[in-house]
């Protein structure tokens, strides 16, 4: 059976499984649509949260970004896990106690202001749509590869599948489907990593293999994997893998943005509304991180080992010898050339694939001496994880499994986000504000229409994404960090922050961050309309992906000063805050207002 059929078979079988579950658990009422009737066990909920959370960015994109940069991109690892600490300690139990369905509902009630609720809806939509753009980028990469079409066609097919899939069920369908998706994606991520770790280090656990001796094919080299990698990349003029080169201020702010953003993303927060008890909300966050950590502890190993394998494939006689001939290139390169995400250009006309750092001035002399006229291979970072099993020459079924896993990751997150967007639009905007008398049926209809609009916008912008999947997603985190997280945290930890403070804080946080991002990435992400670049940012060394932390600080500061300059919060709000802080008496959620 050829690879194409095998891919279709695996992807088809897993899809049939998800759709089967979605149909079986189809949402009947609005309450089931949004919060699954609160009957979800913490472990199940943790697993579903992990699937919801680990998107194309974590699965497809992150290890690739780490592979090509090394230590400097550790921010992704710390940021996307550290946020769960904030979530578990600062938000989850209290939001569960509050007992409503959506994030804007909490903000609207706590800050006794429909305006605050509307601003929260706006923040949520902006962050979520940006996030979906990142997912669509990943979906495009995955579909283009396994259907062997170009990237844009892959994106359109992916969008159609995401839409068909997301409108099917609500939270209940999604919860159980996501458990299945988690199982598929974690198997797909770890199996190739185990094989590769065994090949390179003899250690079956990739996370330990990363820090083990490099012994390809069982031959001891006397060097650790990371030492060997540092030597090899240095010989090609690349910056060392393990050292710190990035700007420290930017790295700290970037990590912080990702952490705060994690705790401010509506589709993750919404998960903690679905557990039976406050105590369960605390455990749920822990279980979610357990399931997430299984992938995140493997990812740095996948990155380092893939980098090693790529260089080894191209310089099959060692980096001091000439690289392989283009005509003799392995199949995975041919396969990825079809997608347009891997390109070869024979700059010095010798028919060989020179792959090195042609931006390094220190290495230029050495390159000239070897007759090299520039690096001839460009590799899109987002293909690395999907190409990884092919690069390591693993069996066909592993390659097919990874394709299915990548799609599971992208689909589960896209579905969760679309659910969060649609519930805000239908529940908070229409039912809560514009048309309070809307029927249940009408509310579900509005939810589905808003999903369709969100996908259409994300697909259009996904054609020219503002960055690799994980970078676009990082922008979404910045927006969530700057707008939603501070409002939620102040709503719980302070009784003094009033309606005016919260509205002003969210508005300032969102707008300043959004403008900063647009100035660097183009207005509304339209290419070519940017004034600055991330290589030379407007403010100090702060890139647009890191600005969320600054936006969050502005949000906190604005809310604080505006609240203290205006009247105190009413007594009933103080009582509300005090009751949210104590688990006693947390009943089932009520949808009424």
């Amino acid at each position: 059976m050829d690879q194409y059929t095998l891919n279709l078979l695996f992807v088809g079988a897993t899809f049939a499984l998800y759709i089967g579950i979605a149909v079986w658990a189809r949402a009947g009422s609005t309450s089931e649509f949004y919060a699954a009737g609160r009957g979800v066990h913490p472990v199940t909920n943790g697993m579903a949260t992990a699937a919801d959370w680990m998107s194309a960015a974590s699965f497809i994109s992150m290890a690739g970004l780490i592979a090509f940069t090394g230590y400097d991109n550790s921010s992704f690892l710390m940021g996307w896990t550290g946020g769960y600490v904030l979530l578990a300690l600062l938000l989850a139990p209290y939001l569960r106690k509050f007992g409503k369905f959506t994030v804007p509902e909490f903000i609207g009630d706590r800050f006794y202001s429909p305006t605050a609720r509307m601003v929260a809806v706006l923040c949520l939509i902006v962050a979520s749509v940006t996030y979906v753009i990142g997912q669509m980028t990943g979906v495009g990469v995955a579909f283009s590869r396994f259907l062997e079409v170009d990237n844009s066609t892959g994106l359109f097919i992916g969008a159609a599948v995401v839409f068909a899939y997301a409108v099917f069920g609500g939270m209940k369908g999604v919860t159980y489907t996501q458990v299945a998706q988690y199982c598929v994606l974690i198997t797909a991520y770890t199996i190739p990593a185990i094989f590769i770790s065994l090949q390179l280090t003899g250690n079956p656990i990739p996370g330990l293999g990363l820090f083990s001796e490099y012994s390809p094919g069982g031959e001891a080299s006397g060097l650790y994997l990371l030492e060997k990698l540092d030597l090899v990349v240095a010989d090609l003029g690349f910056a060392s893998y393990t050292e710190h080169h990035a700007n420290t201020l930017n790295m700290v702010l970037f990590t912080l943005s990702l952490m705060i953003g994690t705790a401010g993303l509506p589709h993750v927060i919404i998960r903690f509304f679905t557990v039976p008890k406050v105590a369960d909300a605390r455990w749920s966050a822990g279980w979610a991180l357990v399931f997430i950590a299984l992938l995140y502890l493997t990812a740095p190993a996948v990155g380092a080992m893939a980098r090693m394998n790529i260089i080894d494939t191209i310089y099959n006689n060692g980096v001091s010898e000439e690289p392989i001939e283009y005509a003799a290139r392995p199949d995975w390169m041919k396969n990825w050339e079809v997608t347009g995400l891997l390109k070869f250009e024979d700059k010095n006309g010798d028919g060989r694939i020179q792959f090195y750092n042609d931006k390094s001035e220190a290495f230029a002399a050495q390159a000239a001496e070897r007759g090299w006229a520039g690096s001839e291979l460009s590799v899109n970072r987002d293909i690395l994880v999907l190409a990884n099993p092919e690069i390591a020459r693993l069996p066909g079924w592993v390659i097919a499994l990874v394709a299915a896993g990548g799609l599971a990751a992208a689909l589960s997150t896209a579905a969760g986000l679309l659910l969060a967007i649609s519930s805000s639009v239908s529940h908070d905007l229409f039912k809560g504000q514009l048309t309070p008398n809307i029927s249940e049926k009408g509310e579900l209809m509005t939810a589905r229409v808003s999903m369709a609009v969100a996908i259409a916008v994300a697909t259009y912008l996904g054609l020219n994404p503002p960055g690799f999947a994980a970078q676009t997603v990082a922008l979404a985190f910045g927006l969530a960090a700057a707008s939603i997280f501070p409002a939620l945290m102040m709503g719980i930890f302070s009784t003094r922050i009033n309606n005016k403070g919260a509205v002003a804080g969210m508005t300032v946080g969102l707008l300043v961050t959004l403008v900063y991002i647009f100035l660097h990435k183009g207005w509304f992400f339209i290419p070519g309309t940017n004034t600055f670049t991330d290589a030379d940012p407007l403010l100090l060394s702060i890139k647009s992906t890191s600005f969320g932390a600054v936006g969050a600080m502005l949000n906190f500061a604005t809310a604080y000063f505006v609240s203290h300059a205006t009247e105190d919060t009413p007594d009933e709000i103080k009582e509300l805050v005090e009751s949210v802080r104590v688990p006693r008496g947390a009943g089932a959620a009520a949808a009424d207002h």
């Binding site: 690892l77 822990g286 502890l297 006693r584």
Partner: protein
């Protein structure tokens, strides 16, 4: 402690004590959270460079794996500690 919760004033006292204890636990946890990630993983990495771990140094390990393991420990510790605190103050859901 169920007789206390029947008296509103005492219940409010209990809630204050409970909340203060909770905030203390959160603060300690967040100090550890920041120390392993921003501290050991980034800012204090040069200080830890003498301790080698599998071909690199301890800071690299914290940045790529160690901090994640500590985060896990923190969340489970917090859940366990708070569920006990709920019972100590009689504010749990049972």
């Amino acid at each position: 402690m169920s007789d206390q919760t029947s008296q509103p004033a005492k219940a409010a006292e209990t809630d204050k004590g409970y909340w203060a204890a909770n905030v203390r636990i959160i603060l300690v946890s967040l100090v550890i959270w920041a120390l392993v990630s921003f501290g050991f993983g980034i800012l204090l990495r040069p200080m830890l460079s003498g301790i080698s771990v599998g071909g690199t140094d301890l800071g690299f390990w914290f940045a790529q794996q160690g901090s994640i393991l500590v985060f896990l420990g923190l969340i489970f510790f917090y859940a366990w500690r708070m569920n006990r605190l709920d019972r100590e103050y009689g504010v749990d859901e049972e």
